[in-house]
């Protein structure tokens, strides 16, 4: 981009595209969270009970917790490679608002790590004997909730990106922050089964998504500036 100044929108798209291309080249990073999700979800029937009735009761929670853990696991490679090869510093030096660049990275990261988990969740839901009427709501809540998990996780990763061993710290920081999303997601699915009106519940999830989209990248950007200096 020599000569003329790119707009922030162009920078946003360029970052998004770059991250998607990198993810396409490193397919392991895409496949691993997905496999992790499948494996964790498999552990629950083994650990709790193979009884379909009992599994059906906990299915929504199991799916949500598995998605939460998969998102946490996937978070680590959000900024790390860029931190190690120095391209993160270039991002920070760019004249564009870091907010947009961070948002672009978060979105592309969710597309390659969050979205596959959402898409495979009906399969797991079937295996866990989730009642039929809850499928649609489960998909919607996961679609609205997993981006929030990614956005919140991004703050934790940005704070710890410079650390040598960050896995556990990241979990300790991020998991409690994710609780409201977990609650909103599982309640919404439960309420479908109770036959309740869903508008209010989905509105709350939407509010969380909008709030996280607006505020979390600001915190991530501030945290990145602190971690990279």
């Amino acid at each position: 981009m020599t000569g003329q100044q790119a707009t922030s929108g162009q920078a946003f798209r360029a970052t998004l595209k770059r991250d998607l291309v990198i993810a396409y080249k490193r397919k392991n990073d895409v496949v691993n969270p997905f496999m992790f999700f499948l494996i964790v979800a498999t552990l629950f029937p083994i650990g709790i009970s193979p009884d379909p009735a009992r599994l059906g009761e906990v299915a929504a929670g199991v799916l949500w917790i598995s998605a939460l853990l998969a998102s946490l696991l996937a978070m680590d490679n959000l900024y790390r490679a860029d931190y190690e090869d120095g391209s993160l510093e270039q991002l920070l030096l760019s004249p564009h608002p870091l907010y947009f660049l961070v948002l672009a990275k978060n979105i592309s990261h969710w597309l390659v790590s969050g979205l596959p988990v959402v898409l495979v969740s009906p399969l797991i839901a079937y295996m866990l004997n989730l009642p039929d009427e809850a499928y649609g709501v489960l998909l919607i809540t996961l679609l609205m909730g997993t981006p929030v998990l990614s956005l919140l996780g991004s703050i934790g990763v940005a704070l710890t990106v410079g650390l040598g061993s960050r896995g556990l710290i990241l979990a300790v920081i991020t998991l409690p922050l994710s609780v409201p999303v977990l609650i909103a997601g599982t309640i919404t699915v439960q309420q479908t089964l109770n036959g309740a009106e869903l508008g209010g519940y989905l509105a709350i999830m939407g509010a969380m998504l909008v709030g996280a989209l607006t505020l979390a990248p600001l915190a991530s950007a501030a945290a990145l500036r602190i971690s990279v200096n």
Binding site: I173, L177, V179, I187, Q191, S227
Partner: protein
């Protein structure tokens, strides 16, 4: 106003001033604690429902209410750290996190002991208990982030960001957990604002204990901040003179 503000940022000035304040806090605290505890443990009439167990309230309620103050405190201190780079604010934020964790544990433990008698169980997933537990986890997160970052300045800013995010989250958690709980199980019939006729001999000692524990909070915060000042300023001349004078 600004002069006063920047003076407050000077650790030395705060150290000297807080040294003068301390007796005025410690003496009332000790008196109120002694009066409050003796009154609560020996002279408060047993509750008509809970019997002698009601006395735990005089420990539990003050600790539970003050432990809610820690995240706002750390968020304010964190904002000051980020905006004005005031060292003192970060010292307060640093010592507040472990203190907050202890206060939260005390609130949880005293509540659990109380609950074991009146609810018949040490733990239930009640909204209030759960949000306290999560606040404890968030505080542990701040503490472990602080200890993982070696550079003091980076640790200060990183913890400031996390405290601000955590403070917002504590409020969201509080509301969402209440919401989760009220949907899952009827909330346990326990309320302080029960408009039952509470005679003064029940609530006066409670007020005394609350004031005493708030003072205890202030004293512990000031003492540990003074400690932190000495540690961080150990190379400053005034600290070395202070050490030599002793």
């Amino acid at each position: 106003m600004w002069l006063w503000f920047s003076k407050l940022g000077s650790p030395k000035w705060f150290y000297e001033l807080s040294g003068k304040w301390l007796p005025w806090l410690v003496i009332p605290m000790a008196m109120l604690l002694i009066v409050g505890i003796i009154w609560a443990l020996l002279f408060v009439p047993p509750d008509y429902q809970q019997g002698e167990t009601i006395r735990i309230m005089y420990i539990h309620v003050p600790f539970a209410s003050i432990s809610l103050a820690f995240f706002p405190l750390m968020a304010v201190a964190g904002t000051i750290t980020l905006v004005w780079k005031m060292k003192l604010a970060d010292m307060v934020a640093k010592v507040a996190a472990p203190l907050g964790a202890w206060f939260t544990v005390l609130a949880l433990a005293s509540g659990s002991i109380w609950g074991s008698d009146i609810w018949g169980t040490w733990w239930i997933w009640d909204g209030r208990l759960t949000s306290m537990l999560l606040q404890f986890f968030l505080l542990i997160g701040v503490i472990s982030l602080r200890s993982a970052l070696e550079d003091t300045d980076a640790a200060a800013k990183a913890c400031a960001v996390l405290s601000i995010v955590g403070c917002i989250n504590v409020f969201v958690i509080k509301y969402s957990v209440d919401w989760w709980n009220t949907l899952h199980q009827p909330s346990s019939s326990f309320s302080l604002s029960d408009e039952a006729p509470n005679p003064p001999e029940v609530w006066v000692p409670l007020v005394i204990m609350i004031v005493a524990v708030y003072l205890f909070f202030a004293v512990s915060l000031i003492l540990s901040t003074r400690n932190e000042i000495l540690v961080r300023e150990r190379r400053a001349q005034w600290v070395q003179e202070l050490v030599e004078a002793k």
